[in-house]
Amino acid sequence: MRVSRHCKLLPCCEETKDFTQDSIIGITQGEDICLWVCFVLDLKSAKEAIKEGCMLESVGFLAGDALCLALLAQEMLVLVQDALEPYMSQRTLEIHWGKHHRGYLEGLNKQLENNNSLYGYTMDELVKVTYNNGNPLPEFNNAAQVWNHDFFWESMQPGGGKIPGHGVLLQIEKDFGSFTNFREKFIEAALTLFGSGWIWLALKTKEKRLAVIKTSNGVTPIVWGDIPIISLDMWEHAYYLDYKNDKVKYVNMFLNNLVSWNAATARMARAEAFVNLGEPKIPVA
């Protein structure tokens, strides 16, 4: 069993001296097993880690890396899954993460087993390649939905919401007029989406500005070369157990309590390496 060179050991795992290889579950891409289980024996220190935001990052899969994911032991899952209560229930996360997201991943793995031509891509690349310029290959739906859910979990945090930090706020005010206007546009997009899909705050690379984007089913702005900053899952399974058909409440709750502007800041910072957003700041003195 070789570990793929694409895999990264997550920061919290590095600190753990007790992780064992016994519980490695394999996901194969070619010959490489690409999965670590980060097993923290001490529940108490795990809770401390959650408070620092560590665990929540490692619940999801690393977007941008090849099929490489770190699963936590069952207790960790349970601890983490109620982290977004009462705005997104543990029950919802159990099913949304444990059944829907996992189902897409397992489906994708099965498809990749049978298709050697897709070997060796990172998740980003896989999504773009299988999108096939608008004529998606059968693997697209699973690949894109794995990517999307990954991105979505990392777009949220306990104690989220409120307003973004300085840099992101300035950019939003520049491109939307005001933060309130951005909120309105975001909510309107969520309520006027037909069918299943996602709502994004994304940086449009050609226009060099932020925009609210609606996509259907599994489509993601990366297929057009845009850079997503925040996403909201508007598939009914994302909110139905907690909010039934009350989409207004769901979107507002997300913006007020869950959206991770920290994640947005990190993503914007990274995006600026690819998109020139304005005049260079020449110091006054």
């Binding site: 099913i95 059944k99 829907h100 189902g103 739906n141 037909f194 069918g195 299943s196 899909g197 259907s216 089913n217 599994g218 598939w235 009914e236 399974h237 139905y240 157990l241 039934k244 058909n245």
Partner: protein, 242 residues
């Protein structure tokens, strides 16, 4: 200029600038005049059974939400879109007319599809689940091999549908042939073929089953046949293929 037949509502309206006599003559000829038109609004049809009547296959909670919230919302938004369309047409505002088409297709489709769906279901004690006999039964055997094969096909296609949509058993009334089709979102069956008549449709939007079946759509599909109203499907079929 295209002449359209009036969709008349129960209230009489006066044709401004025209004598009543002329208007009634025009009505007799099946012609309409724009300013005399009264826009028909749609309202939520009653269910032919109680919300809890389809238990344990579909819970009362789902039926109530589905009917009172989801279907009602489609109707409300459909009426709104039609009103806006009417205004835009009166003003000759083509870009608004065209822009409204997707809202009309979505909400109008939602109304059409759900209206059929409520009739497609019936409580077990009223014959729900009883397989079709006579001409529809024979047609199914002819086109699909057996009733079980049809159910299997519909369940497979319904489970494989990505996102939101419907799976249909339809009749191509031109070719006199049964078909299984899926449509996305709230597209009515007719968007898959102008000659297609829906015999029965199964809503596979998550709101149709999630509270009870969660992510296990195949279980919902397996069970929904227990409350399927084949009598209604047969009636529709026999009307088209006497």
């Amino acid at each position: 200029m295209a002449l359209r037949t009036l969709i008349s509502s129960s209230r009489q309206t006066l044709a401004t600038g025209l004598g009543l006599g002329l208007q009634s003559e025009a009505r007799n000829l099946g012609l309409g005049f724009r300013h005399a038109r009264e826009l028909q609004t749609f309202s939520l049809p009653d269910l032919p059974y109680d919300y809890s009547a389809l238990e344990p296959v579909i819970s009362g909670e789902i039926m109530q939400l589905h009917h009172q919230k989801h279907h009602q919302t489609y109707i409300t938004n459909y009426n709104k879109a039609l009103e806006q369309l009417d205004e835009a047409m009166a003003k000759g505002d083509s870009s608004t007319v065209v822009k409204l088409q997707s809202a009309i297709k979505f909400n109008g489709g939602g109304h059409i599809n759900h209206s059929i769906f409520w009739k497609n279901l019936t409580p077990i004690r009223e014959g729900g689940g009883e397989p079709p006999k006579h001409s529809l039964g024979w047609a199914i055997d002819t086109h699909f091999g057996s009733f079980e094969a049809l159910v299997q096909k519909i369940n497979t296609e319904g489970a494989a549908l990505q996102g939101s949509g419907w799976v249909w058993l339809g009749l191509d009334k031109e070719m006199k042939r049964l078909v299984v089709e899926t449509t996305a979102n709230q597209d009515p069956l007719v968007t898959k073929g102008a000659n297609l008549v829906p015999l029965l449709g199964i809503d596979v939007w998550e709101h149709a089953y999630y509270l009870q079946y969660k992510n296990v759509r195949p279980d919902y599909l397996k069970n929904v046949w227990k409350v399927m109203n084949w009598k209604f499907a047969s009636e529709v079929y026999e009307k088209e293929c006497p």
